[in-house]
């Protein structure tokens, strides 16, 4: 966990493009909010590996969103059921239901549908918001943070030593 936070700090403070960090974080939202053993998460994993998404942001995001998903599962189920039983969407679902790949995806499960719908709807807004926040952080907060007492204390801490070690290794991530 400490290693992961150290990596995130390193990424935030590095020259990595904000888009890569945001993409990793947003893909983590999809994988974290939806049931992990779903077919679409194989696609998410593929995208994380092939696109230049930041892995540290993905892993940290996955932890965060998996925890959140437990709280929101009942809501996801209600939303998913409402979508799956909505008359205007019936023919769409019925068509997908007869395709094996979508059946394997388990899209007709209320939690899968609800959580996937929420994560897809939030994907681009979160991507843009995270991008914006990273830029703002680097422009305004990073210098102040480095000088703050808290950061001074942090730099003397074990977490920072990890950060230094990782940086020393020159991790490409």
């Amino acid at each position: 966990m400490l290693r992961l936070i150290a990596k995130l700090l390193k990424v935030l403070n590095s020259d990595a493009q904000p888009g890569q960090i945001s993409l990793g974080f947003c893909l983590a939202m999809v994988a974290g909010l939806t049931p992990l053993l779903s077919l679409h998460n194989l696609l998410v994993l593929f995208l994380v590996c092939v696109l230049r998404a930041n892995l540290a942001a993905f892993l940290l995001g996955l932890l965060l969103f998996t925890g959140i998903a437990y709280l929101f599962d009942p809501l996801f189920s209600q939303l998913g059921l409402a979508l799956l039983t909505a008359p205007p969407l019936h023919s769409l679902w019925a068509g997908l239901y007869n395709i094996s790949l979508f059946r394997l995806e388990n899209f007709n499960n209320s939690i899968v549908m609800g959580s996937l719908a929420v994560s897809l709807v939030l994907f681009f807004p979160l991507y843009l918001l995270t991008n914006l926040l990273i830029r703002k952080y680097r422009e305004h907060v990073l210098r102040w943070v480095k000088k703050s007492r808290l950061m001074q204390f942090f730099m003397a801490s074990k977490v920072y030593r990890y950060y230094q070690n990782v940086r020393g290794l020159g991790g490409a991530l």
Partner: protein, 565 residues
């Protein structure tokens, strides 16, 4: 674009997928084993154990070895133990998350085997304990042996003796009361006094004497008239009391006969009393079998039909595992989520082999369009000539499910089968041959079942032997019997009606024995009761004699009074 793609990531993805595949390959057997054990235990309410599970991919199939299903009512025994269960899986439906097993073979199926450890699960045991019905009360049988007259009279109070004593005491007290009343009424002395006074008045002379005498005579006559009226009232009341006591005496005299009748009825056995004895013999056994069969029928329900509800025209189904709800849509080629098309079962009984097939095991019969059916048979088993069991559990129309089962057993050798362990009539079938036929239909939870059993070459035994027992004597002559049972009502509230030709056989066979025993008992009882009641009844008659004597005295006084007027 080049900066967006990380080509090395393809390799990373391949490695991750390979590692996941390898992980799945190595843990899948354990996952299957644990899933079957967990789901099976929840279904049965007791531990289900799988020795090992082996999933093969080419061709796709699953092999389970040493499957043990604990009997929830006897946790140290298995309901069934299956040595090996092999099945072939259709891989394409798996992509649609459907488990379609085309062929399953169960070999080495042994019912009712011993377990090394208890298979009770505390969470289910507690629930069962709460729901357990109250213990059934033992069946009280009529007295089947006529007891000794001395014993009967020692514990029975004779109402005739009590009645005679009560009568005697009452008559004595009343006699004393009347004697006292008679003392207060005008007696013979008083009449003599009136007579003397009359003579004096009649003998008076002279005008003054005659006039005075006439006035005195009128006064005297009034006195005599008043006394006569008192005597008449007393006589009337006495006569009423005497009539009542006379009636009472008749009752006292007939009371010993009433006692004899009552005791004969109480302690002897009438042939009519045997009319429902077969219910006592077979009722508990039949009731237990029906209860057990219906309990298993209820446990099987999740395998036959799952809970579904319609929402906005689509079917919402609670999945057997996992969370959330599954919404189903119209399929082009509908298939159930779980289906075993064909199971070959080979059961190993102590008596020999018994085998059959089960078809279409699925909780989604409405999607399959075919009901579950089964057929088993066995021939020339040890102690059993033939057995066939078949049935159809039809839940294709989920609103109108109809399940039917037929069972026929021929030439079953009965040995030492306990029919009644009741202390007063411990009956067993020492030996015999039984044919058994049962047909049961449960339609929309309404039960209609008929069971017929025919027993031949039977040898009934009552142990310990009771030579004076009329039923024991009657059963000794019975060599064949038929029993019919009918179960009607709902699965939750059913009634079992039993009838047997054993009832009429017992009634007929026991009739003569009972008659002679009863006559002997009545004779002995008559002698003994007569001896006991003779004295009190005679005393009661004597007391009535004393009472009646008072009537003469009253009569004499009235006559004397009337002569004076």
């Amino acid at each position: 674009m080049k900066s967006m793609i990380r080509w090395s990531g393809l390799g990373l993805f391949a490695v991750v997928v390979l590692l996941l595949g390898l992980f799945f390959y190595f843990v899948v057997d354990g996952m299957i084993k644990r899933t079957i054990e967990r789901q099976g235990s929840a279904l049965v309410g007791a531990q289900v154990d799988v020795g090992a599970a082996d999933l093969s991919f080419f061709p796709m199939g699953l092999r389970l070895s040493r499957l043990q299903i604990t009997n929830p009512d006897a946790p140290l025994r298995n309901i069934v133990e299956i040595e090996q269960l092999a099945m072939s899986l259709d891989p394409l439906p798996l992509l649609e998350r459907k488990i379609i097993i085309e062929e399953m073979t169960a070999t080495g199926v042994r019912p009712d085997t011993a377990r090394q450890t208890s298979g009770a699960l505390p969470e289910y045991a507690a629930a069962e304990k709460e729901a357990a019905p109250a213990a059934k009360k033992g069946v009280k049988l009529p007295t089947l042996q006529i007891p000794d007259v001395k014993d009967v009279l020692a514990k029975e109070e004779l109402t005739s003796v009590a009645l005679a004593r009560q009568y005697q005491a009452q008559v004595k007290a009343d006699t004393a009361k009347w004697q006292q009343r008679l003392a207060e009424l005008p007696n013979q002395n008083k009449m003599a006094e009136y007579r003397e006074r009359l003579s004096k008045i009649k003998s008076s002379s002279g005008l003054a004497g005659v006039v005075g005498g006439a006035t005195e005579l009128v006064g005297l006559k009034k006195e005599i008239q008043a006394d006569l009226e008192r005597l008449q009232v007393a006589q009337k009341e006495f006569n009423e009391a005497a009539t009542s006591y006379k009636k009472g005496l008749a009752e006292v005299q007939s009371a010993p006969q009433q006692d004899i009748k009552r005791l004969v009825k109480k302690y002897s056995l009438s042939p009519e009393g045997l009319g429902h004895l077969s219910s006592l013999f077979f009722g508990a056994k039949t009731g237990g079998m029906v209860e057990q069969a219906l309990a298993w029928y209820e446990k099987m329900q999740p395998l036959l039909q799952r809970r579904k509800e319609k929402k906005a025209g689509t079917e919402v189904v609670k999945p057997l595992r996992g969370e959330g709800v599954m919404v189903r849509f119209q399929e082009e080629a509908p298939l159930p989520d779980f289906l075993i098309r064909h199971i070959d079962v080979s059961v190993l009984l102590e008596a020999g082999g018994f085998g059959g097939t089960i078809k279409n095991v699925t909780p989604d019969q409405d999607r399959l369009g075919e009901p579950l059916s089964f057929a088993f048979s066995g021939n020339d088993l040890q102690g059993l000539r033939a057995i066939t069991l078949d049935g159809v559990l039809d839940h294709v129309n989920t609103a109108q499910p109809r399940d039917s089962v037929n069972l026929a057993i021929n030439g079953y050798a009965v040995n030492n089968m306990v029919l009644s362990s009741n202390e007063s009539l411990p009956v067993t079938i020492a030996s015999g041959l039984a044919d058994f036929m049962a047909q049961a239909v449960v339609a929309q939870r309404q039960v209609n079942a008929q069971v017929q059993a025919q027993l031949t070459s039977a040898n009934f035994a009552i142990t310990p032997v009771q030579p004076d027992n009329a039923i024991s004597q009657a059963l000794a002559d019975v060599s064949k019997a038929g029993v019919k049972a009918r179960v009607t009502g709902t699965v939750d509230d059913y009634q079992v009606q039993l009838s047997s030709d054993l009832d009429s056989l017992l009634k007929e066979a026991a009739g003569n024995a009972i008659k002679s025993q009863t006559a002997r008992f009545e004779q002995q009882l008559q002698e003994s009761i007569r001896a006991k009641t003779e004295g009190p009844v005679a005393d009661a008659a004597d007391s009535f004699g004393d009472f009646s004597a008072l009537a003469e005295e009253l009569k004499a006084r009235l006559q004397a009074g009337r002569l004076l007027l």
